[in-house]
Subunit: 152 residues, 2 copies
Amino acid sequence: MPKLKSYQLVAPPADLPPEADQAHRFEKARTAQSTALLEDYAELISDLIGTEGEARPTDIARRLGVSHASAIKSIARLKREGLATSKLYRGVFLTPAGEMLARRVRARHRLVVDLLVAVGVPQAAAEVDAEGIEHHVSEETLAAFGRFLGRA
Amino acid sequence: MPKLKSYQLVAPPADLPPEADQAHRFEKARTAQSTALLEDYAELISDLIGTEGEARPTDIARRLGVSHASAIKSIARLKREGLATSKLYRGVFLTPAGEMLARRVRARHRLVVDLLVAVGVPQAAAEVDAEGIEHHVSEETLAAFGRFLGRA
DNA sequence: CCGCTTTTGTAGCCAAGGCTACAATTGGGC
DNA sequence: GCCCAATTGTAGCCTTGGCTACAAAAGCGG
């Protein structure tokens, strides 16, 4: 059984060196980028199961705009990370960890879109930009968004 | 001389297929991620030249939290893309295109941080999250941020 | 001006996430 | 029940952006 990662909050910043926290910020952004793909897949698989009853690699690939081969490769990574399962020539399913991740991602996505709209971003642009932005929004920032939208 | 890319607005969305615009959103996010590194380097090089008088690969690497070898490799990519120049064992400089990019990135970064703070995100979290978010903020969204902050 | 440290550059490795081409399995139509 | 199309999976390639290890140039102290 593969070791699960938390996909939660990471270690606190720590104020050791004088100017090196810039490096920490960049490192954080790089890390976020590496989990972004997992998050997108988890949410999409959850959606497909909810609306179509199943999540097939071909549908996943089409929705994400990648080849089915790329999708399958990424699904393999999800399985390695303990977020999804699948049997040969059967569909893809989420583990409990994967479901949890999908729920959090979906909620975060909505909150980001709503905040963008609330500050005056047109709906269409908000939807597009949120797709990239959401992966870099920390829990702390998310909480602030909630308060701003009056959903404390 | 290498062909320059614009790093500006991309082609309009187009509303061809029914549900395939989800694919377009993901593709856009992927593209943004590929230019994010260039943007970070351009801004940092500009900063270093402004404050230190020169941009040395070692300093760039330390600020970004990567090895100097990685920094040099990325600087090579900047040069390929026509954003920077450098001579062997001399420092790194930005081309006019690189300078322009740096200016736009810096302005966008400030605007994103300010907006986050304006909606109640603590300063420290805003700085950290902005580092990742800024690369996914479209011109349209940026304009909305400006209006919201009363800088129409 | 010589040598040692720092900086810069090169080579080669790795994983991720794209892709195409090809193989295998499934499943629906007849 | 068989066969062919669609789906799924595999293999192999490419680029990016990390890394370490090693080599070469710069530059400073003595």
